[in-house]
């Protein structure tokens, strides 16, 4: 495994800290004119998403983390695992619940997702920013009350629950922002 010197670190460098793969989100070099230099970093743990601050002494060597992001197509869920395929090599990988987390709510077959691999194994996924999903359940809206931005809950085909305008009906296709989990518009197919 390759190592970095602390002065080679940059924003976006993937390093191994306490055995976990981490992404450097902020970095600062500090040094008294006549004293010891340190590199201060804010790092995001790619397994659990937590951001923490660490300090390295200059000339410290830091283990790099073999982390890559791969664009993959979501295929299906077999009841336990979510299966993805790399569209040019047709290579398939299976992600478990710990990698998929709450993002299962936005996974629709054929959609393209970013899968992060650590040593070749998936550790997290990022769904597209916008997905189009069908409404499988929602109470009928009260007619004539559509102007004031009133909302009601709706359940989507993936199991996600979001708030929608009152005019939305079962079987409507909705465009949803996966980052905020919010309704954007009705989609035409």
């Amino acid at each position: 495994m390759a190592n970095y010197g602390s002065n080679e670190l940059k924003r976006g460098t993937k390093i191994l800290v306490d055995g976990n793969p981490c992404n450097i989100v902020e970095i600062e070099f500090v040094k008294p004119g006549k004293g010891q230099a340190f590199t201060r970093v804010k790092i995001r743990n790619l397994i659990n998403g937590r951001v923490v601050e660490k300090t390295f002494k200059s000339n410290e060597t830091i283990e790099s983390a073999d982390v890559i992001d791969v664009e993959m197509q979501y295929l299906y869920n077999d009841g336990e695992l979510w299966h993805f395929m790399e569209p040019t090599s047709f290579e398939q990988i299976a992600c478990d619940k710990s990698a998929v987390g709450e993002e299962y709510k936005w996974l629709k077959e054929q959609d393209s997702c970013m899968v992060t691999l650590w040593n070749g194994a998936p550790i997290c996924i990022v769904p597209p920013n916008h997905v189009i999903l069908k409404v499988v359940h929602t109470e009928p809206g009260v007619r004539g009350d559509t102007a004031q931005g009133a909302t009601k809950p709706a359940t989507l085909e993936t199991g996600a629950e979001i708030l929608v305008p009152l005019f939305v009906d079962i079987d409507d296709l909705l465009k949803v922002d996966t980052r905020s989990g919010s309704y954007i518009a009705r989609a035409r197919d």
Binding site: F29, G33, K34, Q36, F38, S58, T61
Partner: protein, 344 residues
């Protein structure tokens, strides 16, 4: 100055926009004006401007400063870019030059960041016959002329002065002279500092522990609480080339200037004892060897000058780029340099 190019890709490889300066034209004009003001200040006071070599046969042995070594094709030995003009300027003092100053580029390997650039502009001056507190007064006189009124020195206000012990006690809750290593570790932990080291790495020594607290806890507090601050009387272990106090040998007669929590200048009453200077050089080289750092030839011309006799003097080195940053309200050195290191 030309408009920024729109195209991102380059005919010649690399990012097509990186040829451009990072400082605005206004900042370059401020830099030129600052250099003129500095020269005028010293001319009025009869301090002689000098130039000394940037390329030397000897290097700085300070374990916390790395010289750039150059292979010299036609010669067997390496040459070194100076990290400060200190040794050569003291040789001039020993030769009877009197009060002298220099504005020059200095070079320090591996120092790169928002407030660091491996090549930077240093103003260094020496005052034979001055005690270090007199030199602090002269630095303050210079600042009161240069700094914008927001720093408060124009209205007869004085810069704040606190000893290193007071600053560490107030902001890091440690006594830097008496605290045991365990107490320093506790202060580091209390500040939430998480130092990651390989298991086989040596634990931090006393100065490194203090520097960890200084850079992570004290400097940010100074930025919040002090505009113009002199810190003086550093621990003897951080004496560098400073005299130790006759009254208290635990203390070096050394001071630093901070503007808005950023270290701007470092000055001291100069060590003039050749034997003591040689002892410190060898101690530094021994520490370098122990840590696996490169060991360089020490400057024998400088030691010989001390044997001949250097007048009692105080001297100070001031980072011109950081001073310009403070004057102009910039946030990073790149904003006050035409081309920082990543565009050099």
């Amino acid at each position: 100055m030309r408009e920024p190019a729109i195209s991102k890709s380059s005919l010649f490889g690399g990012d097509a926009n990186l040829w451009q300066p990072t400082a605005t034209l206004l900042r370059l004009q401020q830099r030129a004006a600052l250099l003129q003001q500095l020269r005028r200040f010293f001319a009025e006071r009869g301090v002689l401007e000098v130039e000394t070599p940037q390329l030397s046969h000897a290097a700085n042995s300070d374990p916390y400063i790395e010289s750039f070594a150059l292979g010299a094709a036609a010669r067997q030995e390496s040459l070194y870019l100076h990290t400060s003009p200190e040794f050569a300027m003291k040789r001039l003092l020993a030769s009877g030059a009197g009060a002298i100053y220099q504005i020059c580029k200095v070079f320090r390997q591996g120092e790169e960041g928002r407030l660091h650039n491996p090549e930077f502009t240093m103003l260094e001056w020496y005052r034979p016959g001055f005690a270090y507190r007199q030199l602090m007064d002269e630095v303050e006189a210079l600042l009161s002329r240069l700094l914008p009124s927001a720093f408060g020195l124009q209205n007869g206000e004085a810069a704040e002065r606190l000893s290193y012990g007071e600053v560490m006690q107030r902001y890091a809750a440690v006594d830097p002279f008496c605290a045991t290593p365990a107490m320093l570790d506790a202060a580091v932990a209390a500040a939430g500092i998480d130092l990651v080291q390989r298991p086989e790495a040596a634990p931090l020594d006393r100065q490194q522990q203090l520097d960890l607290l200084l850079t992570h806890v004290v400097d940010p507090a100074l930025k919040r609480n002090h505009k113009v601050l002199f810190i003086y009387d550093f621990p003897a272990a951080q004496a560098s080339l400073a005299r130790l106090s006759d009254a208290n040998p635990e203390v070096a007669e050394r001071f630093e200037l901070y503007l808005n929590g950023i270290e701007i200048a470092n000055g001291f009453a100069e060590l003039t004892d050749a034997a003591e200077q040689q002892r410190r050089f060898h101690a530094e080289l021994a520490l370098r060897q122990q840590r696996g750092q490169p060991c360089f030839p020490i400057d024998n011309h400088f030691l010989n000058a001390l044997v001949q006799g250097m007048p009692e003097a105080s001297g100070v080195a001031l980072g011109v780029d950081r001073l310009l940053l403070a004057i102009s309200g910039a946030d990073s050195l790149a904003e006050v340099m035409a081309f920082p290191f990543d565009r050099a």
